[in-house]
Symmetry: C2
Subunit: 259 residues, 2 copies
């Protein structure tokens, strides 16, 4: 029987709020079994970019990562955010090890080809090195991934943290019984955006189609759910969406996604 593995992705709002982050790290450290954390950089990369006089370039509403923006992302994601999370997890006796995709060659990506838009130093995941990640996990280390990958030729690349989480979950599900948790500021997928507690407890492919038709699920929730079904279709056991309390041992209020 496969060992269990939990892969938890935390969003920017949790990282930015010191109280939420503390509460999350405490709950995460108590989570039983093998686990992996994936985080983005929150607003901090944009803030430091501004302070350094580096403008965030947008084309058609998409962020462009030029060389200077990449440097800021590397400093904030892999440096400031990652190392502080690791140090704080160590204080909770959680043997964390911070990683970019370049470390131990864990995630190889390809620089997004230029079609209509040149996204700059943005990477689409090509290979997740399951052997390398499993080796760390089996040494009872807790990998903490930031949203950076590399191309294997010396170039770091910016990669969406949700995507890193789902791609790592997909790859690891070959070896482990893997659950993917998307942890953000809401209690789950909501039936009404006005009611925080209107959490839809479970969504499958059929009900997802209906929710989309009824416009109950829209906007930012769509890529998260598409990512979830993509992961489930590639053998990830279970995907859960909710807030920090989802990691509590007796948590009930969150959304479970199944096929």
């Amino acid at each position: 029987m496969k060992q269990k593995l939990s892969i938890i992705k935390i969003g920017g709002n949790i990282i930015e709020d010191q109280e939420s982050l503390s509460q999350f790290l405490n709950l995460f450290s108590r989570l039983k079994g093998h686990k992996v954390l994936v985080h983005g950089g929150g607003k901090r990369a944009t803030d430091y970019g501004k302070r350094l006089g580096i403008e965030t370039k947008m084309v058609d509403g998409r962020r462009i990562t030029d060389a200077q923006s990449l440097d800021v992302a590397v400093m904030v994601y892999a440096g400031l955010v990652n190392k502080n999370i690791v140090a704080r997890l160590q204080a909770y006796n959680c043997n964390a090890i911070g990683l970019s995709g370049a470390d131990a060659n864990t995630i190889i990506a390809i620089k997004r080809p230029v079609k209509n838009i040149d996204y700059g130093f943005v990477g689409d995941v090509e290979v997740v090195n399951t052997k390398s990640i499993a080796q760390l996990i089996r040494a009872d280390l807790v990998p903490v991934f930031c949203a950076l990958t590399h191309d294997g030729m010396g170039q770091l690349l910016n990669t969406n943290a949700d995507t890193i989480a789902s791609e790592v979950a997909i790859a690891m599900s070959q070896t482990f019984d893997t659950t993917l948790y998307y942890c953000f500021e809401k209690k789950g997928v909501l039936r009404s955006i006005l009611d925080e507690n209107s959490v839809i407890k479970s969504i499958n492919q059929e009900s997802y189609q209906k929710l989309k038709q009824q416009n109950i699920v829209a906007d930012g929730m769509l890529p998260k759910l598409d990512n979830s079904f993509h992961a489930l279709n590639k053998d990830v056991q279970r995907v859960c969406i909710g807030d920090i309390t989802m990691l509590e041992p007796k948590a009930k209020l969150f959304t479970t996604i199944t096929l």
Copy 2:
């Protein structure tokens, strides 16, 4: 018989010069056997500090690390410098993994007690977790340490890279036959500062005393040599001081320090 381990510390001048760094990383990646790299941050932390409007505070010629300066050090050392080195080593097929002392709980330090001067977030190494580092090395990973440690209570600390190199070498020499290399811009300890090739090929404790009396060895060289003898007195097998070419298979021109 103990396995061999090379611990190489590179100085700021190598990090700042792209050509030197490329040449170094190429030679380092070809080095046979187990190895560890230790690096500082060069001038880049100071430069980014300036760009962010954070002044470098000095007291009695010593740099003070306040909270803001620590953030910059964490961004530059653990982010920008460390991850770019790791990505470039991966391109040379060297399976590097970037670490601060917090990662895998590898280096625990104590915040320097306030006596006459409050150095701020500066850490003096207390424990090097040999088991944790050996586990990574035996998994054929190449640890790349930046000049950061942690206090085990969630606080990152700034620690001199030369000290990290010697403390890691001392700790690992319990398990490995360890050689410590201080790699900087000069070919070794020079007899005359005016003659680049006047390398003193070997120094022992006795000759060191004479060199000091004759004022041949002075200034910045003294802490490096004191660090070297400290390491040798604590069972490090060999200490070598020289430039990048010291890592070439047939290198001859560098300084070897012995007891």
